[in-house]
């Protein structure tokens, strides 16, 4: 009996030491979160990066921020997803270029136990922990409202949108169109999809304006399209004739608000998306149940009147 007792005691003590060793280790390793934007060097995504950094410092996590070559290149994004999984990322925060074409890589990541958070532009994947985006549909609708407030009478619209397959673009246009369908005085004359390059976008908008001289209002749904629309209006000197409602954050757009090419600017909160993306990732890693599947960041409407309000400044102008 005695010998047996000693053995049991010995086993228990060993177990104890082992467990205490494990318990000690738990708190000390920082989580690694890979942030994969569409394109890392636009003003918009640089603001996302700022939000990511602030959150990373606050939550003591390491992050990486790397995007594709342009806002159509979903293949590079998929490569980045795969690389992040190999590098041992605990979570991936993704702004998907293509709503459908990244699903396979995401599935592999999910199987490897990596948490997926979607920001800015959604993805067709059920196991996303949380999606943080501006309510794109609402944004489109809001753009419509603003456009309607700029003039009485007939509104002839030209829509300038970006890549056909991007979820946020699709949603924004849908929101815009559905609101406009309710107004009899609105006609949507033309809608184009441009590439993510300012000069090419500008050329395409110029083409559209020249083809349809009756367009008196334009809506542009992201940075490149907004700048394209703005520059086109400048080029054709249509600043007073054509109302432009743009969705963008970049400095030149803001300049154009002051100079009149853009009449209403819907400024989003990419900083919030970056910050909340990391916050969400931290919660996902801790296996906290998400309170909502969708978190919406709101946009601010800026025009020449409120551009320099103290709060607008903070919202609109990035630090550098």
């Amino acid at each position: 009996m005695k010998g047996k007792c000693k053995k049991i005691v010995g086993v228990l003590v060993a177990l104890l030491l082992l467990l205490s060793g494990c318990a000690e280790q738990e708190g000390y390793e920082k989580s690694y979160i890979a942030v994969i934007p569409k394109y890392a060097h636009s003003d918009y995504f640089r603001e996302v990066a700022k939000g990511v950094n602030i959150a990373a410092i606050e939550y003591s996590v390491t992050t990486s921020f790397e995007g594709a070559k342009n806002e159509e290149d979903y293949q590079t994004q998929n490569d980045l997803i795969d690389r992040a999984v190999e590098a041992g990322a605990d979570a991936i925060v993704l702004s998907a270029i293509d709503y459908n074409k990244s699903v396979e890589s995401l599935e592999k990541a999910h199987k490897a136990g990596v948490k997926i958070i979607s920001i800015d532009s959604g993805v067709n994947f059920d196991d996303v922990y949380q999606t943080i985006e501006s309510d794109n549909y609402e944004t489109g609708k809001q753009a419509a409202e603003e456009m309607l407030s700029l003039r009485r009478g007939e509104v002839k619209v030209g829509i300038v949108n970006f890549d056909k397959n991007s979820a946020n673009g699709i949603e924004r246009e849908r929101g815009f169109r559905e609101r406009m369908e309710q107004e009899e005085r609105v006609t949507i004359v033309d809608a184009i999809n441009t590439v993510s390059n300012v000069s090419e976008a500008t050329d395409e908008v110029v083409e559209m304006l020249q083809a349809h001289a009756d367009i008196n209002s334009m809506v542009a749904f992201n940075e490149f399209t907004s700048l394209g629309a703005g520059y086109a209006v400048k080029e054709l000197q249509l600043g007073n004739q054509v109302d432009v409602v743009a969705v963008d954050n970049s400095i030149p757009s803001i300049g154009m608000v002051e100079t009149g090419e853009i009449d209403k600017l819907l400024v989003q909160n990419p900083f919030a998306m970056g910050y909340l993306g990391i916050e969400s990732a931290v919660n996902a890693i801790k296996n906290v149940e998400p309170t909502q599947k969708h978190v919406y960041t709101s946009a601010l409407v800026v025009d020449r009147n409120n551009l320099y309000d103290v709060d607008s400044q903070r919202f609109v102008f990035p630090f550098d």
Partner: protein
């Protein structure tokens, strides 16, 4: 088990093993609980303390750095003003300002304003002033008209350049120069981004950050100011307002405030301890629970061992006692090797068993003996030889016509038997016993005539005391048959009875043939082999059984001279005395 036995079992009380185990477990649990609560509290206290210290340190360091930066800004401001004051013309001033602008990396713009805030001169910085009418955010009338020597604005966006909107803080000083018609302001727009980046990168503790507020509690810069504006994040401004300079406060989170520059700016550090604490406490709690579990197991094991060593021998003892209760005679006890106290118990038990068995044996023997003697006494009441001889004598007397003598003999015989029976009682008065002896002697006298003579001398006082019946008669019989029968001379039998202290002595003395010492010894040992009545042994045994070892018969005899048989009895005043004791 019927219900009574079952009840008894329940009322038996806790088993020793259970009790020992329960106590040990309780003690160790209480100890562990107390210790772990104590340690967790201390631990949490320590973590909180160190988090507070850490907050204070970080905030104070941040404040020092920013204070330094501000100082540098002021120094350069004063230098610029001095130089501009020394310039003799506007062109010179322009050149100097261009230089200044180029050389100083963190200067976003340097100007001279007039009193209305219009730009008179601006240093070249590679940017283009906007041509149209702008809202110059670098000029605020209320601010500039204050009496401060050096004016410092809150951070804002610089708005006077085309497509160039850096965040700046504006510093201004009044200046009076010859080459400009009115006194005006020298204004420097310092890049705020470096301060902002610095603040952004300050992490406090495991999770936390810093921000800047003015003396009224309004945010000057907050890393998350974009989120605060849209309500996604909040700052607990009430708590912060209550903070004094340099103080760290713990409500649900740690807040720490440090002043810069007389409180114009204040650095606030926020740190979230709870998560940190929770994490540590959780792992600590796990650890403690593990120890508790191990401890319980160890307690159970060791209590099992202890109680085995204690309760097992106890249980064996209990079992042994039960067995003994059930069957005392056949019980064999082996004491086991165990704890001292238990061993001593079992040894005592062992002795007790031995003694009880001895006593039981003795009682049994005595019972047997008593029954035997009583049986014998019963038998003696109908001694055939004696009766036969007596009746023979009576017949002879009747044949001879000696009627009176015959009547007397018959009477004596009747009385003899009456007393013999005595209604079955064991004790009779000495008076009756003497009568019994007398009747016997009368009858024998008829037979033996002149062969012997007798005398009875009994003290009056002892006649009412009690004694065993049929005590004297067998002794007298013995004297007659062994003493007188064989002698030629007339035998003499003297029967006496008197008190001796608390005892009674009865004596039967004859002058018969006597006996040797050996005979004297053996006569009290052996049973009479013939049926001729109770022997001396019988009388002796009965006396001893009834009254004890100190009483009984003693023989004093000399060969050819005679025998004296003494009977010692206690004074028995009533039958009940001895009956109840029995």
């Amino acid at each position: 088990m019927n219900r009574l036995e079952k009840n008894q079992k329940n009322k038996k009380g806790l088993s020793l093993q259970f009790l020992v185990a329960a106590i040990m477990i309780m003690i160790s649990l209480i100890l562990i609980l107390v210790l772990s609560v104590f340690f967790i509290n201390r631990y949490v206290q320590n973590i909180t303390e160190s988090a507070l210290r850490n907050s204070e340190q970080v905030v104070s360091q941040t404040a020092a750095t920013i204070d330094n930066i501000k100082e540098q800004m002021e120094i350069r401001m004063e230098l610029l003003v001095q130089e501009v004051g020394h310039c003799s013309s506007q062109e010179e001033a322009q050149k100097y300002m261009d230089n200044f602008s180029e050389m100083q990396q963190d200067v976003a713009g340097v100007y001279i304003y007039d009193y209305q805030g219009d730009i008179l001169i601006h240093g070249k910085n590679g940017q283009n002033i906007k041509g149209y009418d702008i809202k110059n955010l670098s000029y605020a009338e209320e601010l500039f008209s204050s009496n401060e020597k050096i004016i410092l604005s809150k951070p804002h966006v610089q708005s006077c350049y085309v497509n160039y909107y850096p965040w700046v803080v504006t510093m201004a000083m009044k200046v009076d120069v010859d080459y400009l018609s009115e006194a005006c302001y020298v204004v420097i727009d310092y890049q705020f981004s470096s301060i902002a980046t610095y603040i952004d990168n300050v992490g406090v503790g495991q999770r936390g950050y810093c921000y800047i507020i003015d003396r009224y509690g309004d945010i000057i810069y907050h890393p998350k100011q974009r989120l605060i504006y849209v309500g996604v994040a909040e700052e607990n401004m009430d708590v912060v307002a209550k903070l004094k300079n340099g103080e760290a406060l713990l409500s649900t989170d740690i807040y720490c405030k440090q002043e810069i520059d007389n409180g114009q700016w204040n650095i606030v550090g926020v740190s979230y301890v709870n998560e940190l604490i929770e994490l540590q406490v959780k792992s600590f709690r796990l650890f403690v629970m593990l120890i508790a579990a191990v401890s319980i197991v160890l307690s159970i094991l060791s209590s099992a061992i202890v109680s085995r060593r204690v309760s097992h021998p106890v249980r064996c003892l209990v079992k042994a006692m039960k067995e003994f209760e059930r069957n005392a005679e056949a019980f064999e006890y082996q004491s086991e090797n165990s704890i001292q106290e238990i061993k001593s118990l079992s040894d005592s038990f062992s002795h007790m068993v031995f003694m009880i068995r001895e006593l039981l044996q003795r009682i049994k023997q005595e019972e047997i003996s008593l029954r035997k003697t009583e049986l014998k006494a019963l038998e003696a009441q109908i001694n055939p030889h004696f009766l036969y001889n007596t009746l023979d004598s009576i017949q002879w007397m009747c044949e001879r016509g000696k009627a009176e003598e015959a009547v007397e003999m018959i009477g004596a015989l009747a009385k003899l038997f009456r007393i013999s029976i005595s209604k079955g009682r064991d004790l009779i008065t000495i008076r009756n016993e003497v009568q019994h002896a007398e009747n016997y002697l009368k009858i024998q006298k008829f037979r033996y005539r002149d062969e012997f003579v007798y005398s009875l001398e009994f003290d009056e006082e002892i006649l009412d005391y009690y004694c065993n019946k049929i005590t004297l008669q067998p002794i007298i019989e013995n004297s007659i048959y062994h003493g007188i029968d064989t002698e030629i001379e007339t035998g003499e039998i003297v029967i006496r009875g008197c008190r001796d202290g608390n005892d009674i002595i009865m004596q039967v003395k004859d002058n018969g043939q006597g006996m040797t010492e050996e005979q004297a010894a053996t006569i009290l040992q052996k049973e009479r082999s013939d049926d001729s009545g109770i022997g001396l042994k019988n009388v002796n045994d009965r006396i001893k059984i009834y009254f004890g070892e100190t009483y009984g018969i003693s023989i004093d005899s000399e060969l050819d001279y005679g025998t004296t048989i003494s009977i010692r009895l206690p004074i028995v005043r009533s039958e009940e005395d001895y009956r109840s004791e029995r």
